[in-house]
């Protein structure tokens, strides 16, 4: 079995809520991530799924060191990213790249496709971290365009001349420019139409097997996650509630939240839809602005017990590689 490429240990990311005009003082915190641990092995895809505001994107951004984590360790390739100085971090960051959700907002409208794809290479060249000639850079950009299914004939065009799916391809080419090991894909297909979504998912799968990439794949669509992931982690309110291989978790979900999530997802087949019984959760996701002493899912859980009120369930292994944070399966 391959070793972990990325290991996240007890990661917390709290955003301060401040009050006061001149003398700001912290009055609270949004606990976007509240203590999560997981690992991603080289070559696998970890799917991260959950509702909006549960901390999926914050997780990706904290791993990429776009935010400074409040607490916890992010160990990539055996080194804790938070402890590195800026130069070391930059060279390590070469191996971690992001693909963003909105293909309209994530590309600079004033740059041509070649400039966009080549930008990471130029940055690394200018900082002296890479020796590459101008000609090689253009060649690499054109090669990457072809690789993601765009004709290099369009190299001097601007983003507005492309459709959403094609822009997402440009974003993927940019992420590949530095030959990264890990790609953090933050909802890369949710802004796309169904027929285009399938094209991009297939492209990502092809690239993974060709370059032995490791993905952290974030989505809210459970079917998309199942299709692309080796393992799946379900997040709720800044906590991971269940982790397992995607084969197991979809067949035998353990956590009540995972069950509800799976049963809420519509299936495109009227015969199945008619027969299905839905678990409809009551209420909305609570605000993550206060510290909790009980299970994070307590307010909405259809199976809550007395014990859940004042004890936080930790992620515990209940079967082979199947971790769940719920007192239905173990006692505190």
């Amino acid at each position: 079995m391959s070793t972990a490429l990325l290991e996240v240990k007890n990661l917390k990311m709290h955003f301060p809520i401040e009050e006061g005009l001149l003398f700001k003082k912290q009055v609270g915190a949004i606990r976007a991530i509240d203590g999560i641990s997981f690992e991603i092995k080289a070559g696998e895809t970890l799917g991260l799924v959950g509702e909006s505001g549960c901390g999926k994107s914050t997780t990706a951004r904290t791993i990429a060191q776009l935010y400074k984590a409040t607490e916890g360790e992010i160990i990539f390739n055996g080194r804790d990213l938070a402890s590195l100085d800026s130069r070391e971090l930059l060279s390590e960051r070469k191996n971690i790249q992001m693909v963003f959700q909105d293909p309209y907002a994530s590309l600079n409208p004033r740059m041509t496709v070649t400039e966009i794809i080549a930008e990471p290479l130029i940055i690394f060249k200018n900082r002296g971290l890479m020796t590459i000639s101008k000609k090689e850079i253009t060649e690499r950009a054109e090669f990457l365009m072809e690789k993601v299914g765009l004709s290099s004939f369009f190299r001097n065009r601007y983003p507005h001349e492309f459709s959403g799916g094609q822009r997402q391809r440009i974003g993927i080419a940019r992420a590949l420019a530095l030959n990264p090991k890990l790609i953090l894909a933050d909802e890369p297909v949710s802004a796309l139409d169904v027929s285009i979504q399938a094209q991009i998912l297939n492209l990502l799968a092809d690239l993974q097997s060709e370059y032995n990439l490791t993905y952290l794949f974030i989505a809210h669509d459970l079917a998309v996650i199942e299709y692309i992931s080796t393992r799946v982690a379900v997040m709720y309110l800044g906590k991971i509630v269940e982790v397992s291989s995607s084969k197991v978790i979809y067949k035998k979900p353990l956590h009540p939240y995972t069950e509800a999530l799976l049963s809420a997802a519509p299936i495109p087949d009227p015969e199945i839809e008619k027969k299905r019984k839905r678990i409809v959760l009551s209420g909305d996701v609570p605000s993550p602005d206060r510290a909790r002493t009980g299970c994070y899912f307590y307010d909405r859980c259809p199976k809550k017990m007395e014990i859940c009120k004042n004890n936080i369930p930790e992620l515990t292994e209940t079967g082979e590689g199947h971790h769940v944070a719920c007192f239905l399966y173990f006692s505190p």
């Binding site: 509702e51 909006s52 459709s163 799916g165 094609q166 139409d193 169904v194 027929s195 285009i196 979504q197 399938a198 094209q199 998912l201 297939n202 799968a205 809210h220 669509d221 459970l222 079917a223 998309v224 199942e226 299709y227 979809y250 509800a260 999530l261 799976l262 049963s263 809420a264 997802a265 519509p266 299936i267 495109p268 087949d269 009227p270 015969e271 199945i272 839809e273 008619k274 299905r276 839905r278 409809v280 959760l281 909305d284 996701v285």
Partner: protein, 349 residues
């Protein structure tokens, strides 16, 4: 019991075009359908296929210029909405036909209390004074499942979550007992667990109140559970129309087949590659009179590049616009016919 054969809305050859600097965009180009009492009709298709414009046209909500309804009839109880005067239409909008929009964050006025916005609709359309209207508004909020409605009615929209705001929109849309509810992507901005709540609510209420519903969405899973009949749109036209179970079990148009196959599914074994339709949706400016799907289709024949396919009707309410199914019934599902023969048939039409 609802009489299912009672047609309340009949749309005939609707055409809505937009004038742009580059040319005319035929956003809706000859759409016909009818809606029966109590029926739930779905519109599916990808962005830009004209599903929203079709339904905005029904209520004459197309901004003009640049948009213009150039042709067609929208018969609501045998009266043409498109020929009505503005004040007559105002009596129908929000009263007989009402809408729920995609984004519950922007479709409520952030400056006004929920009560003001709900009561306004009721006073405008029903002969009720302010006190009665407020009572009705509170009833509606209770019906859509807002806790403590008498207290929450005086809140502002920002004090509600996304799902709650969509509930308020539904309460507003149904407060005048409309005959038709048009829901334009009502759950796209919501999370799956909230989506399940809202869909359940729309389904329950339309059954309880006998409202006919038009549901516009790009999510095939949503329509599968909600609709009786489905219209699949592509490039401004309905390319396949069918009842829901036949559409999923026996899709005919290559686009519909591709669309269904390209959705990853929770209930099916994966492992093999996902099917994908090649290419991009067409640019709608100055489209030639041919099958708009032909550059992406697997069964393209010569005729597809030259003429728009006829409407094939199998007699039981299913229609397909595709040259694989020439207009005369009887040649149905003969997919292996040679391209030449099709060409001949097409030439004769």
């Amino acid at each position: 019991m609802i009489d299912r054969n009672d047609v309340i809305l009949k749309v005939d050859n609707l055409k809505t075009h937009f004038r742009t600097d580059e040319g005319i965009v035929k956003a809706v180009d000859g759409v016909s359908f009818s809606l029966r009492k109590g029926e739930t009709l779905g519109f599916v298709g990808e962005s830009g296929c004209g599903k929203s414009v079709t339904n905005l046209s029904l209520m004459k909500l197309i901004p003009s210029p640049p948009g213009r309804i150039v042709d067609g009839k929208v018969l609501f109880h045998d009266r043409d909405i498109l020929k009505m005067k503005e004040n007559e239409i105002r009596g129908i909008r929000g009263n007989k036909i009402s809408m729920i929009f995609q984004d519950p964050m922007t479709s409520l006025n952030p400056f006004l209390k929920i009560s003001t916005q709900l009561v306004e609709t009721i006073i405008l359309h029903q002969k009720k004074n302010e006190k009665e209207s407020r009572k009705r508004a509170i009833e509606m909020l209770e019906l859509v499942g807002i806790p403590a409605p008498a207290k929450r009615i005086d809140s502002y929209p920002h004090q509600f979550s996304g799902g709650m705001r969509q509930r308020v929109m539904i309460a507003m849309a149904l407060s005048c007992n409309p005959e038709i509810l048009i829901a334009d992507e009502p759950t796209t901005a919501l999370d799956v667990t909230i989506q399940a709540q809202i869909l359940e609510l729309i389904k329950d209420l339309s059954e309880k109140l006998g409202t006919a519903t038009i549901l516009i969405t790009h999510d095939l899973g949503v329509v599968a559970g909600m609709c009786d009949t489905l219209n699949v749109m592509y490039a401004g036209r309905i390319i396949e129309k069918s009842d829901v179970s036949t559409l999923f079990s026996d899709p005919k148009h290559p686009y519909t087949i591709g669309l269904i196959k390209s959705v990853p599914r929770l209930d099916k074994k994966t492992g093999q590659k996902l099917y994908s339709i090649k290419g991009q949706p067409p640019n709608m400016i100055g489209m030639p009179e041919c099958c708009p799907f032909h550059p992406r289709c697997e069964h393209t024949m010569d005729i597809c590049r030259k003429k728009y396919p006829p409407v094939y009707d199998n007699g039981s309410g299913k229609t397909v616009n595709c040259w694989l199914f020439p207009a005369e019934p009887g040649n149905y599902s003969d997919e292996h016919k040679s391209a030449d023969e099709h060409h001949m048939t097409g030439g004769a039409v």
